[in-house]
Each structure stands twice: as C-alpha cells, then as structure tokens.
Amino acid sequence: MCSTLRKCGTYRTEVAGHHDHGSTFQGRKKDGNPFQDNFDKRNPRYEHGGRELPPSGCQENDGSVEMGDVHKDRQLRHTPYSVEHNKKLVKWHSEVRIHTTTWRNRKCPERKMMEDTQDRKTSAWFKVTIPYGEKYDKAWLINSIQSHCSVPFTPLDFHYFQNRAHFFVQGASTASALNNVNYMICDDQNRKICIFVNHSSAPFSVKNRLKPSQMELLKLTMDKRYDVSRQALDLQRLRFDPDLTGSDVDIILNRRNCMAATLKIIESNFPELLSLNLCNNKLYQLDGLSDITEKAPKVKILNLSKNELMSVWELGKVKGLKLEELWLEGNPLCSTFFDKSAYVSAIQDCFPKLLRLDGRELSPAVTVDIDSSEFMKPCEESRNGFETLKHIVLQFLQQYYSIYDSGERRGLLGAYHEEACFSMTIPFNPEDSAPKSLSQYFGESRNIKVVKDPDLRGQLLRHTKRDIVDFLGALPKTQHDLSSFLVDTWYQTKRMLCFSVNGVFKEVEGQSQGSVLAFTRTFIATRGSNSSLCIVNDELFVRDVSPPETQSAFSIPVSTPSSSSEPSLSQEQQEMVQAFSAQSGMKLEWSQKCLQDNEWNYTRAGQVFTMFQTEGKIPAEAFKQIP
C-alpha cells in the first residue's frame, strides 16, 4: 500500500494525488479492483488538493463516508491511510457502482436528485470527465463542448489527470445538457468524444475559496509586488512573503484555490499585465495557471523557473499566451532533453513566437501548419504548409547551384556532411540504348535494377564529402535554370529536411554543349541552428527533356553567377535578397540582380526598382507567380 504522505521540508503534509471516482467506474479495468488501481497510481505531482467526497447522492448520511477531509492536516500528518480504510472505501464504492451505472444510462439527473432523501442545496455540483481528454487542447475542447451544449456553462477547475480531462459545473440542468453532448463531438481524427457527467462535491477551488479577508491581504501583498512601469508582477516565493506568513494566509500556488484567487486578483486589478514571475513556487502542474489565457491574456513574459514542472506538456496548458520571453531553468523538465537544441525546439513548438528563453535570444522558429488541397490535380509547389521552410530551402538551393554552376565545385565541400552519400542515375529504357545526350553519365548511373554486382553498386555510391565533391567536379560544367525549379519538401523533422528539386539545366561545355537536360535531385539534410542545412544524402537523376520543357527553359534571363573569383553571397546579402524579394514581389534571382547592380545599397535598389516599375520596364516573368 503506498503511503499517501509526502513530507517535504517545511511544507505541511499534503495528500498526493487525487481520487477520481467518476472515472473509476467508467474505466474498464479487467483485473483487480478498479478503485484499488487508481489509488495506487497516484500522480504525486498532481495536486488537486485532495480527494473529493464520493458521489454523495447515494448515502443518507454524507458525513459518515467521508474518509477524512484532507485539509485537516492534523489527521493526515499522523494517520496514513491504513489498510482498513481502504477496505472500507473499496466496499463502499462497489455499492455506489450501481448508482453510477444507472447514471450512465442517462437517467435524468433532476429525477435522480429528487429521489435523494439527502437534504441538498439546489445548485449541485457535477464533475465532467472526458476519457482520453489528455490529448485535447483545453480551449478547443471547451469550445467544442459549448457549441454542442444547449445550456451555456462555466467550466471550473479544468484539469488533466492520467489520460483524462475533467472539469466541474454547477446545476443539474447544465449537467444534463452536458451529458447529452456525449458522442456528439468528433475530434480531428474523426473519433467521437465521450463525455461522462457525475455527481460530485464542489470543486477544490470553490470548497476552499479564500475568505474575503484573506483575499484582501493577498491583494495588498500583490500590490506591493507590482511594478507599474514594467507592468510586471513578481510573485516569486509568494508563500513566504512576510505579509502573508504573519497572518493566517497560506498561499500555496500549486493549489487550485490559491491560484484561482491570484488570477482573480490579477484579472480585476492588473488586467493589462505584461510580465508575471512565478519563480520558486513549487508548481507541479499548470492546470490552475491555464486560466491565465482568459484572465490576463496580454502576458508576454513568464517566469516559471525553479518550479517542479516535469514535462513540456505542462507548458501546453498555457500555450494560449503569446509569450515572447520565458524562463524555465531549474525545472525537472529541463534535464529530460538530449541536448540544448532539442530543449529549445520543444519549447518553440509550444510558443512559436518566443524570442528569449532562459535569458538567451532565440532564432525564430520555423512554424509548420498543414493545409489540405485538392486531389489528383498536379499543382505547382507542394502546398503543404512548409511555406516558411521554403525560404530556407530556396536560399540553400540558390547558394548550392551558384557554386555548382561556377565551375569550381570544390566550394560545395561546405555543404556536405563528412559522411554524406551521393549517387546518380539516368533512366533505363529496356528498348533503346542511352540517348547520346546522356552518354557521359551512362557509366556513373547507379540503377540497381541494372547493376547487380554488389561491388560495383558500392563503387557507384560516393561516400564522404571529399569523394562526392571530387566526383561532382568531374561532371560537365552546367548552368541551371533556377526559375524552372520545382521543389517538393516532403519530409521534415526537427533534425532533418528532405526535399526534391525538379528542373532543367544546360551543359555549357564539352561534347554536349548547349544541350538542355532535366533533372530530379533529392536532398536529405540535417538542420543546423541558424537555418543552415548540411547534406547527408544526395541523389541525382538526369534525363532528357521533353519538348515543352525545352521551350520554357531559359526563356527568361537568369542572373548568371560570374566566375569563381566572386564570393558567394554573405548571410547579410542573402537576407537582403529575401527581404527585397518579399517587398518587391520579384523572384529571388531578379531581386539579387537588382541589389547587385546597385552595389547592395538596399534603399537605392528599392528606388531603382520603383522607378523601373512605374516605367513598365520590368517584364512579368520577373515577378513571383501568385499561387
């Protein structure tokens, strides 16, 4: 039997974990007593502040089944739950089971209430349980339920426990209306969401509401900690504030009632709050804090350092805040990451617009959202929502091909990983021999449908960046038509990116000089910290062009990179090109040309551009097509 005590320093002992009576019955536990199961699986970090009373409609005398109010600390300190206690609870709950089953068969709660001999207040409390609710975002869930519910309701004490979501509502008619929402909502994977509603005692934050005198004291304390000039509220170590410890006010922010009171004061007194410091408050969970998205939505700076947050999932509960600065160091979750960049990435996933984490500036995260598109119609760039990645990819391709076409391909050494792989192929047509235009590549083609010898297969796969760049250097000199490029970004994780480029190029020397060929090149690259890409796999497929492709190729001037003596674009120059392209609407290579012609003087280039544009001197092909 697990002890439910946890002595922690000077804190008074508290019950760890929370009984979830309602869900116990709904849960389908095959072995053992379901209640026992729940009891053992206490989540020590979750602190709803104690057990609820069991559904009280079922017994005449409420008081006798109350196994001890956990807030009577005296009791707890000295009397851990004994085995006998458990047995009683167990037995009691198997009796209750029947009632709850009836409830699940959707008998009207009002009728049920009238059957009670218990003298109860008219506004009874109900606990709503959503099994597997853990995976749903709080705001989405509440909004979805509200939109299907005939009666408006106010969810109180919304929290997650194990894999369920819970909240409390008041009033039998509300409960009944919510019960009817069961199976009416579909999640984004088309699974129906279950909603169970059960009798309950009042939620913790209501039952243990701060008295008006306590609220007043808290408000005064918070006033003292408020910095008007920065609109910042410093609540670190709030519990031990001398003003509070002197009186009988114990503000344990991890407890729902205290957090709710604090947020209430913030909402009424500091609604324009920008910065909130909750450092060192022994916060194990952020369920209580999640209400901040409604009470103080303008908060941009949040300090949660030196708390007890175990996972990034907790942060998801406040992701409604548009945070610019976040402090998390000193939480257990910080040491669960493999490395710093994984930690930063995970936080950025939660708060995409975050600028500073633990005092350090962050490079802006790449956000990805997927949007759907029509079937079967081939379309231009894959509209897969990797729009922000496109800049990284396009920038990479620009750089890559400017070196590739420059004649000095050794410059590509910097683009490849030490142990990168490269291979190339040409199409194999069983009927004809290789067309003349591809004859140079014939011997290098690693088509494993044709090449069966394992040694030869091994040889044709270039390994290590030196080998690769040497091999590439030996290929004919080329000129690629960047405007013909079509890029599919087809797989990405935080660490890597896969994309395929389809396009055409011209051979500018050698026996096939002037011939235009088409290619598909697949890159797999790891992502570095500053949006840099490092190629680990590179596969090139070269084929003849079809007549329509020849026509469109090279029809508009491309800024040809000059000889190898010209250095490739610096970081700043690339950024200028991007910005210029975004502002003018011209394609990247045209923007680059304009900037280059104006000696990288952005303002002058802009003036020149505007002048030419008004004079109608810029051809339509210079501009990016609007998808």
Binding site: Q189, N190, I370, S372, S373, E374, F375, M376, K377, P378, C379, E380, E381, S382, R383, N384, G385, H417, E419, A420, C421, S423, T425, I426, P427, F428, N429, P430, N447, I448, K449, P454, R457, G458, L461, H463, L486, D488, W490, Y491, R495, M496, C498, S500, N502, A518, T520, T522, I524, A525, T526, V536, N537, E539, F541, R543, S546, P548, E549, S552
Partner: protein, 192 residues
C-alpha cells in the same frame, strides 16, 4: 523457410546469399506478400538493443539495396494488383505528396488510394542510399528513388519519379520496412 530463419540469428552467416523469407508463388494464398520483410539487421539479431558489432558502411549499403529491391517489387505489385492492401506498407503517420498534393495519415491515404484509378506501373530505374543516422536519430532509414512509366485507367501514360523514406522496425527474427514518406510526381506534371 522456417529452417532458414533459425540460422540467421547466428550472426556470422554470409548474408549475401539469403532468400526472402516469404517467396512469391510458393506460398499458400493467405501468405501474400503484404509486408516488406528482410532478414534481421546485423547486430540486432542477437540482442534487441545492444549492437554486438557496429555495422560497417558496406553492410549498410548492401542492406539498403536488398530492402529497396524487395520493397519496390512488393510496392508496385500491390499498387497494381492489390490496391486495398497498399496502406499496410505505410506507417500510421506517413505522408504522401502526390504531384504536389499532400495526403497525410493512414485514413487519408486509404481514401486517396481508393480514389486513384487502377494503375499499371513499369519501374525502370531504382536507386537507394542508407540515410545517415544523424538525420534520423538512429532510426534505420533508407532513401529509395524510382522512375519509370505509369498508366492510370482512363488517363494517358506518364513518366514518373518517386522517392520514399523507408524506416526499419527490427524484431529478432526479421526487419519490417515501412514507408515514412512518399513523394510522387509525373515528369510532365506541368502539362497534364
């Protein structure tokens, strides 16, 4: 084939001569090839997680080629003849980009392949590379690139290019390869 299987776990077997565990044409009807299965990865055979000997690059490459060949023969065959079983080759969260259109997740993939008319694929080119573990966080992955022709019922024939990322799921007895990502395009996408 059971006899063969038990020998693979000895580890020092010459792995260049093995045979696919399930052989086409020799199996009872219910053993149709619906999974891409190759012998266990070297190093995985003995214990589940610790690699007895690190894989050398050549072995990686050979393994990738084997898996790619096996995969391609099953994939296009299934696509042409047993279309309803095709999504079994994909991971749950796999994504397909088909001529620029995104199809993500098994449900969407099922719908998509249902809608796609019946096909006749002819693969003329196949290349593969083992993907560097730095990109995949030690999840064994290979890049497969194919090209050829396809004719969808009611449409003209097209040349196509396709690439796949296959990831390995190792068990002591074998390795099952599944598609993590798939990118398909007609070569003449612009004019179709």
């Amino acid at each position: 084939s059971r006899k063969f299987r038990s020998n693979w776990s000895q580890g020092d077997k010459d792995t260049t001569k093995e045979v696919t565990i399930i052989r086409r044409g020799h199996t009872p009807a219910r053993w149709t090839r619906e999974e891409v299965v190759t012998p266990p990865l070297p190093g995985h055979a003995a214990t589940s997680s610790l690699m007895a000997t690190p894989m050398d690059f050549k072995t990686y490459v050979d393994q990738a080629c084997r898996a790619a060949e096996e995969f391609v023969s099953i994939y296009y065959d299934t696509m042409d003849k047993r279309r309803q079983a095709l999504t079994r080759l994909y991971l749950d969260k796999a994504t397909l980009i088909w001529n620029g259109n995104i199809v993500s997740g098994l449900d969407a993939l099922n719908n998509f392949f249902d809608m796609l008319p019946s096909s006749e694929f002819q693969v003329n080119m196949l290349d593969c590379q083992p993907v560097h573990e730095q990109a995949t966080q030690s999840q064994t992955t290979i890049l497969v690139v194919t090209s050829g022709t396809v004719k969808f019922d009611g449409n003209k024939q097209h040349y196509f290019n396709q690439n796949f990322l296959l990831t390995a799921q190792s068990t002591p007895n074998n390795t099952v390869w599944k598609i993590a990502s798939d990118c398909f395009r007609f070569q003449d996408w612009a004019s179709s």
